[in-house]
Amino acid sequence: MPSVFPFAAIVGQDEMKLAILIAAVDPKIGGVLVFGDRGTGKSTAVRALAALLPKMRAVVGCPYGCDPDKPGGHCEVCQVDDAPNGRLKSRQVPVPVVDLPLGATEDRVVGALDLEQALTRGRKAFEPGLLARANRGFLYIDEANLLEDHLVDLLLDVAASGENVVEREGLSVRHPARFVLVGSGNPEEGELRPQLLDRFGLSVEVTTPTDLATRIEVVRRRDAFEGDPDGFAEDWAKEEAKLRRRVVAARKRLDGVSVPDAALERAARLCLSLGTDGLRGELTLVRAARALAALDNRPAVSDDQLRRVAPPALRHRLRRNPLDDAGSTTRVGRAVAELFDV
């Protein structure tokens, strides 16, 4: 693995950082899509996510990293394993953040017959793919709009069911594949299919900073990192650890954060006035606001959180109105201002 630019050292891009932190606190929100200009550090930020995630317990030897406390979690390997005194052996592992590179073939994504074992030993074994590795973690697609159609279909199917069903080469395997999608791309390369867009809980638009001092700082840190990646990471280790502790603490607090009825009503009114499709927008908005409250160490969701997460939670769920030239960000901003500032 090439060394990774520390998350804490990313200059500016507050909304993007916030969205990624929220996704790290509550994976149930359903991931982040980062869309925007070239050279804004989209993939840098996403790749830095892995370092912020606290470790998780996984069953030893399970190719899907099953949670030991949830046996019967669909995985054939863990179920078959007759563990002594009903307890599976487990250990701490990093939460997987798996890259789905362009040019990946379907057999590597879903898993396939293990060629090596088949050729050398004549054994029919299943070789898990990227979806298996991403189970309980994150799946990152850079240039999401360039992903081949059949892979998008496949991802949508698996993401909806949380289970990967492989029926090929005489293999019949099903295994859990619950993952959070994280994507990035440039809108000039083409749009995303609405179904795929809908899978992302939050969507962020990034633009290049215009302030000169910020721009200088970005280039300076990039240069420092490329000159000495390890030294740079060390310089930022303290900040990075602080951020990680914040995420861990927020995760613990998350269930304790209350959502008052007033906030629920606000969220519903906001979605109504924007005419978002379905209930997913509302759910995401409330969940994201709750995660943000946990990050901010607040006991309950308030207008402040709703206001801050409304753009990323809703902007990709607006029905397109070609006659309204204003971008969706502006429209969300307008609706928020109307609703909250009276």
Partner: protein, 606 residues
């Protein structure tokens, strides 16, 4: 550096050539850092000489490989090595061209024809210095520190390498105006591999002080360059320049050179230079002197104040902005440059042109049907022990370690050739109704784009007015791109209906050849007044339009004519008849109805 200090004043082409040579040397020192070069030049002796120079400047043993324009993923990224896999009886990885070039340079031929998919793969390799392979049952991460030289043979303004790639390649050169004689003048002066190797080893020690970094960033901002990759790449180029010159510290001259090579070609607006610090002649001379006398003068230059340094770097960049770019910038008042298509007719992305893979099935390869090696091996694998036992002892010695493949193991790729449609809007932008019609057409295009992903439709728009028909929106799926090129669409003038239809047919036929299904959507009132030859006159114009319309019918193109006149026009009806088009009188067409009608026509055509 290369030019002799007492060289006579050179003209612009010689300067360009000199810069091209300098760029080659910088990239030879730090290919992965600077990312590479976009070289716009015709195929010919000048380009060949430049490539030879680059090769000559590379340190000993540095790989330089050519990437053909339509290289498949197996060659580009890597995959299963068939011969070795069969010989050894276990999967063997074959590295792709990119990983093979680690430490060196990939020369991408005909980069202006490169697909967005290929560009994204190159971009990923440049960004992560590695190729992440998940193919053919193999997973690997191969170190790939490469520079890319994108050979751009484009002629038209919009024939350019994909922006995602160009963005990551530091130096942008244009050698099209450089003649053969100009290219002869400096080539001999170039020193070679040893200097490069020395510079490479020095590179890690070269320091940059904060002022120079700030000056480069400020210059980029003043030139209207949004991406922060540009100043980062300029910084790398400045470092390489210092290393090449045997210094451990980046001097202002290095920054100036970097500004010229990296920043100037990316400029989107003209900087406002402070008048007192940057007199005209200063600008013109500096780029010339900078490279040669930096060894002697930096001490004198060092005490310059920060503002001064910034201005110097900016002036160097501004002076190097090519004249044609200047004209373009002045024309558009510093606005955005027109978006570029990936090819003249919007070459479709790879995933679109191959159809939808439907997996593999048993069958014989040949006749354009490709054998899927991995699946074939998978099919053969379970039977190996049985087959080996059957083979008998006599053959066992020979085939001991090989894989026994039988014809019925063969698996071939199956594709479902889905015919994807492209709606070509032909919009009459003439006369008084133009504004109204254009607004409708724009709305319809955007509505169509907004919900057409599922069937992967594309949209193109040709507007005709005055005497010509212009392709305003090459076939695209990008709403962003469409919005941008549709804003500020001009209207008024005569109605060259025939020219408009002809342009539509030409585009439609080009698309058909690419396996797409074009649909013509003509928005007009049918009243032509400019003939094919550009002369005014209703009668001839009408006859020409009808002739053009019949060509649509002959070509078998599905078409839709939307009559946008206040009252249905007989001329438009006649035109629709001749085109065998569906006729729709929509005096108050709203975008929704238009896109609905287009969809129905598309469904019939499919």
């Amino acid at each position: 550096m290369t030019p002799a200090p007492d060289a006579p004043p050179r003209d612009e082409t010689a300067e360009r050539w000199g810069d091209a040579v300098r760029a080659a040397r910088l990239v030879a020192v730090d290919p992965a850092g600077i990312g590479g070069i976009v070289l716009r030049a015709h195929a010919g002796p000048v380009r060949e000489r430049w490539l030879a120079l680059l090769q000559g400047a590379l340190a000993e043993g540095t790989p330089l490989r050519r990437l053909p324009v339509r290289a498949g993923d197996d060659r580009l990224l890597g995959g299963l090595d068939l011969a070795e896999t069969l010989r050894l009886g276990r999967p063997v990885l074959e590295r792709g061209l990119l990983a093979d070039c680690d430490g060196g340079i990939v020369v991408a031929a005909m980069a202006e024809r490169m697909t967005a998919g290929t560009a994204a793969r190159l971009a990923a390799a440049l960004d992560t210095s590695s190729v992440h392979l998940e193919r053919d049952g193999l997973a690997a991460r191969l170190t790939t520190r490469i520079g890319v030289v994108a050979l751009d043979e484009g002629i038209a303004e919009d024939e350019r390498p994909p922006p995602a790639l160009a963005e990551r390649l530091g130096c942008h050169l244009d050698l099209t105006p450089v003649g053969v004689t100009a290219s002869e003048d400096l080539s001999a002066a170039l020193e070679g591999t040893e200097e490069t190797a020395a510079a490479r080893s020095r590179l890690g020690r070269v320091a940059v002080d904060g002022e120079i970094l700030a000056a480069l960033v400020a210059a980029a901002a003043a030139l209207g360059i949004g991406s922060l990759r540009a100043p980062s790449l300029a910084l790398k180029a400045a470092r390489a320049a210092a290393a090449l010159d045997g210094r451990d510290q980046v001097a202002p001259e290095d920054a100036e050179l970097a500004a010229r090579l990296v920043l100037a070609p990316r400029a989107t607006c003209l900087p406002a230079l402070p008048e007192d610090t940057a007199p005209e002649e200063d600008q013109a001379e500096e780029p010339d002197e900078a490279p040669e006398d930096d060894a002697d003068t930096p001490a004198g230059e060092d005490d310059s104040e920060p503002d001064r340094l910034e201005d110097r770097v900016l002036a160097a960049a501004a002076a190097a902005i090519p004249a044609d770019l200047l004209a373009l910038l002045n024309l558009s008042q510093g606005g955005r440059r027109p978006p570029r298509a990936s090819g003249p007719a919007g070459a479709p992305q790879k995933s679109l042109s191959r159809g939808r893979p439907l997996g593999t099935r048993q069958g014989r390869p040949g006749g354009g049907v490709r054998l899927n090696v991995v699946e074939t091996l998978r099919a053969a694998a379970p039977w190996q022990p049985v087959r080996r036992a059957r083979q008998g002892d006599d053959a066992a010695a020979d085939t001991g370690r090989r894989v026994l493949v039988r014809p019925d193991d063969f698996r071939i790729n199956a594709f479902k050739q889905r015919s994807e449609s492209t709606a070509i809007f032909l919009v009459d932008a003439s006369g008084s109704a133009a504004l109204h019609r254009l607004a409708e057409a724009k709305g319809a295009v955007e509505t169509l784009l907004a919900d057409c992903y599922i069937r992967r439709e594309q949209v193109a728009l040709i507007a005709f007015r005055g005497q010509t028909a212009d392709l305003l929106l090459p076939p695209t799926r990008s709403l962003v791109r469409a919005k941008r090129s549709l804003s500020g669409l001009p209207g008024g003038g005569g109605t060259p209906l025939a020219a408009g239809i002809d342009a539509g047919v030409a585009l439609a036929e080009a698309l058909s050849r690419k396996g797409r299904t074009p649909i013509l959507v003509l928005l007009t009132d049918g009243r032509a007044n400019i003939a094919r030859d550009g002369s005014p006159g209703r009668e001839q114009a009408g006859a020409d339009a009808l002739a053009a319309a019949r060509a649509v019918h002959l070509a078998g193109l599905p078409a839709l004519l939307i009559d946008m006149a206040p009252r249905p026009q007989p001329a438009a009806q006649a035109l629709a008849m001749a085109m065998a088009a569906r006729y729709l009188a929509l005096p108050h067409a709203d975008p929704g109805t238009v896109s609905q009608a287009v969809r129905v026509t598309a469904a019939e055509a499919a």
